[in-house]
Subunit: 200 residues, 2 copies
């Protein structure tokens, strides 16, 4: 019987089939619900082949979203030198990635759809929890690491939103050094300094 379309088993065609299946699975089942096994089943390949090409589910997600960087690789590198100055390093890294991505970058698209579609918001939350917040939270050596991580996320999200999505002139025109000087200490405070939280 003649077959048309992609032929699983043959290099880049297989990788593309896996990516298509993964994208569909993440959309249908969310980040946590989509399993490598189910993705492999959809793509008509062995789960081992998915791992061979893409590694972990985090890496597969990053590949699916065509993100220009892999937070699971970038973050540990930022954290490695220690907590000292981590706030500034995070902001500078974020700017160096986004400032060079141009307008139609895939992370902006991901964030936009997470803001507007509940299903995409769930997927974003689940991915961010595993691949981003978990890593930051583990690095925090102070009370309330989860709340601190949430506050870091709030300032980072707002920076991205005002500089790249809403494009507020003051935030677009600010130089990276100005943003780092202003916002780096905020992130640093959330990560390491006393927050004066009320007793629980």
């Amino acid at each position: 019987m003649a077959r048309t379309g992609r032929r699983p088993g043959g290099g880049s065609g297989t990788q593309q089939a896996i990516l298509d299946a993964a994208r569909a699975a993440f959309t249908e089942s969310g980040y946590d619900g989509a399993t490598i096994r189910a993705i492999a089943g959809k793509a008509g390949v062995d789960p081992a082949l998915v791992h061979h090409y893409f590694g972990t589910k985090e890496h597969l997600f990053v590949a699916t979203m065509e993100l220009p960087f892999d937070p699971t690789e970038v973050l540990p590198g930022l954290i490695a030198p220690g907590l000292d100055g981590l706030g500034e390093r995070l902001v500078r890294m974020l700017l160096s990635i986004w400032d060079n991505m141009g307008d139609q970058n895939p992370f902006a698209a991901l964030l936009r759809s997470a803001m507007t579609h509940e299903r995409a918001a769930v997927m974003f939350r689940e991915f961010a929890s595993t691949a981003i917040f978990g890593t930051v939270m583990k690095a925090i050596d102070a009370d309330r690491p989860e709340l601190r991580t949430g506050m870091v996320a709030s300032q980072v999200a707002g920076l991205v939103m005002t500089r790249y999505l809403l494009k507020l002139p003051a935030m677009v025109e600010a130089t990276p050094d100005e943003i780092v000087a202003g916002i780096g200490p905020t992130i640093q405070r959330y990560l390491t300094e006393p927050l004066g939280l009320p007793p629980r």
Copy 2:
């Protein structure tokens, strides 16, 4: 000749006609481009009647968007007691408004469309510049008031985004007092404290 539909000149029907015309004008021409004269023309009424029912263009916009509060009235009240503690007051007011609005609030809809449609982003920027940022900027008695206002906007926007739109668990579960303790000082620093900006 028989007329159907709204009859300009008759109370609430007229007000609704003005609101419909204003909504269309803001969408077509943006916040700055839409004039009271053009809106009145669309609605088939005298411009004076628009002012009579809705006051300034800011107020008309707020009415059009069905916002549950009017930033042009709320902000001056927050600023009046002085810069001391303004960061905490801003955060507490924001939480008290949003926490009580429920999921489908109009400001969230406005923000969502500003994130996804360039035209809505322009309208949001223009309205926010006039009705929100301008008022905050005038209150700032320190260097770089525009950049400081942008940074305030970035933290406020990120708080709204993570607590109400993306719904990150840590930010949803935090009590208002915790958010005020954590984020209030950030806003206060952006408003009044030295930022350590590099020389221009």
